[in-house]
Symmetry: C2
Subunit: 179 residues, 2 copies
């Protein structure tokens, strides 16, 4: 799911062929996803089958097949849906679960804020639940302490992001702020 979102989000910024996609991910996003080349191709096939991307074989010079993928209108819809899903939930410590943050500019500020608030609520609930869980006997203390620390840090960070976003003037599209 996060992987679909990632591919759609990248293609959204312009058509790309497989190599470019994979190369970009490897260079810039390896820290937050473990999507592999071969997995990416499988996913791209699946996205095509769903009509979310189209592919055409481009023959530049006399190179062999070079597959250029681009987002369809349906793909854009799917992207919008997946992005909202992703931003509105919180999944603890799973590689790739934060991919949505990369594409948050795709949303109107008001909605982004609403989703981040929902995410924060989900996170806060997980934290509360975890804090009030019966202390697992003896062992696992360090693990639990670690998880608590992680959840708390996430919560604080998210709160800061929300605050920052709220206090900043809405950047108006094509136009300067009125005085």
């Amino acid at each position: 799911m996060e992987r679909e979102l990632l591919l759609l989000g990248l293609l959204r910024q312009g058509a790309m062929h497989g190599y470019q996609l994979n190369d970009f991910i490897e260079r810039n996003l390896a820290f937050c996803t473990d999507l592999k080349k071969s997995t990416a191709y499988v996913l791209l096939d699946k996205l095509q089958a769903r009509g979310w991307v189209t592919m055409q074989e481009a023959r530049a010079g006399n190179r062999p097949h070079k597959r250029v993928y681009s987002l369809t209108a349906a793909g854009e819809d799917a992207f919008q849906r997946l992005l909202r899903e992703n931003l509105g939930e919180f999944v603890a410590a799973k590689t790739g679960s934060d991919i949505g943050l990369a594409f948050i500019d795709a949303l109107p500020k008001r909605e982004a804020l609403r989703l981040l608030n929902r995410r924060r609520a989900a996170l806060a609930e997980q934290l509360t639940e975890f804090e009030s869980a019966p202390q697992h006997q003896g062992s696992y203390q360090l693990l639990i302490d670690h998880q608590l620390n992680y959840l708390r840090c996430e919560l604080e960070w998210l709160s800061q992001v929300i605050a920052r976003m709220q206090s900043r003037r809405v950047p108006l599209r094509r136009g300067s702020a009125r005085a």
Copy 2:
């Protein structure tokens, strides 16, 4: 790898049958691993094949097969090795990568400290690398900011854990601290 460590670590505390293992994980460790029942059985088979655990069908009452797994000496060796590997490295934000923390008491304090220090060094290096990476253009700022926050929180937590562990008297086995 973390999953093998998890199963070995659990069996180390006593022989268990499959259901108990899965139930325990689901109840107490779901927050830090996504090991599923069916995966666990496959893994248990593999651990058996390697001679790390043995299984015997116990027939309590006239229940059908109930497979009780227990750790072998080779399994204990493997556990010790895997635990050291796990504790001595840092893998960013991957479910289950912290499992070793649950079993840290299996190590002598001195060695636990050495490994945690190595882990901290690895983490610090990742952070430095990340901080000094060329600022990815424009987008992804939030994602990067998030990762930075995460790495910094981890580093601070780990440092605290190490400090705490260092300052505490070594709990002597069977005996009280000398005055």
